[in-house]
Amino acid sequence: MARGNQIQQLMSDVQDPSDFPPQSEVPGLRLLDSSLRCTICSEFFDGPVTLKCGHCFCSLCIRESLSEKHECPACREDDVDIVHLRKNPAMEEVVNAWKQCRSHLLQIVNDSRGHVDSSSPSKKRKRTDESRSATLTDPSTTSDSSTLTDFVNCPMCDKRVKYEDINSHMDKSCKDEPAVTLPSSKLQWDNILGAKSQVKSSKKRGKERASSLEEETDYPLPSKSYDTLKDKQVRELLSEHDLPTTGDRKTIIARHQRWVTIYNANLDKTLKMRKSLSILRRDLRDWETQQKNKTKHDIEDPTAYQIKQKSEFDMLIEAARPKGTPKSNSVTSVSNGHKVPSNRSGSTTKNSSPSVHGGFVEAIVVDSDGES
């Protein structure tokens, strides 16, 4: 019951590109939102890294994926290794900025769409533009240079005109529309100037960040070849990082491997975004409980499992015996199957669970049968 609620809550919590209106209504926004997401976890990039083919993923996601297979998940370029990962701090900045303005922008977009729906479209189009340029002057979403380019001097009358209105302004031979009269444009300037001072302060923060970036001295942990290490040495490696040293060899190796992965993934983030070591340790602990749950789930009730899988075990035992009997079996069933295939599918359902092996063995048998 509680779980259902939890999922409901999580579900409403999920943000995805389709929060934004489709391309046909507001071009680009949905695309922008989806291109700032990792294609593995479908979340915003968390410590983005780039592979040598140029594809970008969360550091942790791609490290997990590379441990399964050394290829780029997107283009399948071969021989990609963890050493080929390069940090992408620029992408991280973009993602951070986008995260900040996303809900704000979403609200504006939804509001303006509501207006469009409720009244005549031609008039409202203008208002949408205005509200959009109003967001542009918002210091958190833009730099001062882009605000300034919103206005240009009219080459004929030298008046300040909004960039997007300049053509219509000149078409009307500089006869002013109300929007560009002096008081309102002065108001706009005040906005910009006010914004500017705030931009400065945020710039300072940027500088601080840059200087702290230079101080970055942490090096990634090397990956170990555990086969050459004794249990004791692995335990020493763990205690170097204040990690628990309990468990059998398999457990401590897995723990150290995971620690190296999340530690190095954390280093791929800019200093400001990094998690502290204590949080990383907590993450590791959570991961370990997850793993335990998983194995526990697998062998929850051994006897029941044995009874349930008995037919499969028998099948495997049968298959492991000298090939004489199963061969003739499958051949006869093939000839049966020709006439009444639905029957065959019914009869084989029992044997079907180890379909991988069964299918393979059968494939060989029948192929030779077909040729003869």
């Binding site: 939890q6 389709s18 593995i40 297979k69 997107a74 399948r76 997850q290 998983k294 295939p341 029948v366």
Partner: protein, 191 residues
């Protein structure tokens, strides 16, 4: 089942995002209708041949898909239900897809499990025929896999057969194959 679901937040969130994108029509092809009311198949049309979503809200790791048989194939007119089972390390590992009831098709095991390269991890290769380039990768999605399965229904891949009888029949006697498929669909629909 449900404890596994709660244990892996990454997989759960990724599944929910995929589902949400399906429901909100975020998919470019617009081929999908996702919804909890999976069993109301009366909303089906040729433009919406698929319905897709979790079986229940308490278990996001089991989905059900309803697929309409593609046009101009023996499967045309049929509606096939399949169960998708997701592993707890999704999307690193692919999900499993099983037609219930089983479908008579060269690439579907007699028990209903689908044998398609896009659902195989690079490690396991039951047929030894598959190119690594067509295997599962974490950037694949439910949507892409279902599209592949639909095209597989139309064009069976005899190199990696799962139902050998059906493979032989398809190769040697295409007409009979078509007749049997149509018959099984009729039987399934109760006509």
């Amino acid at each position: 089942m449900s404890s596994r679901g709660a244990s892996n937040a990454t997989a759960l969130r990724r599944l929910m995002t995929e589902y949400k994108q399906l429901t909100s029509g975020g998919s470019p092809d617009g081929m999908f209708t996702a919804g909890a009311s999976l069993h109301q198949s009366n909303g089906f049309s040729t433009t919406n041949p698929i319905s897709l979503g979790p079986v229940s809200e308490s278990d996001f790791f089991t989905w059900e898909a309803l697929i309409c048989g593609p046009k101009d194939t023996p499967f045309e007119g049929g509606i096939f239900s399949a169960k998708l089972t997701f592993p707890s390390d999704y999307p690193l590992s692919p999900f499993k897809m099983k037609f219930e009831p089983p479908l008579f098709h060269p690439n579907i095991y007699p028990d209903g499990n689908v044998c398609i390269s896009i659902l195989h991890t690079p490690g396991d290769d039951p047929t030894m025929y598959e190119q690594a380039s067509e295997r599962w990768s974490p950037v694949q999605s439910v949507e892409k896999v279902i599209l592949s399965v639909i095209s597989m229904l139309a064009e069976p891949n005899l190199e990696s057969g799962a139902n050998i009888d059906c493979c032989k029949l398809y190769r040697d006697n295409r007409q009979e194959y078509g007749r049997l498929v149509r018959e099984s669909i009729k039987e399934q629909l109760g006509i």
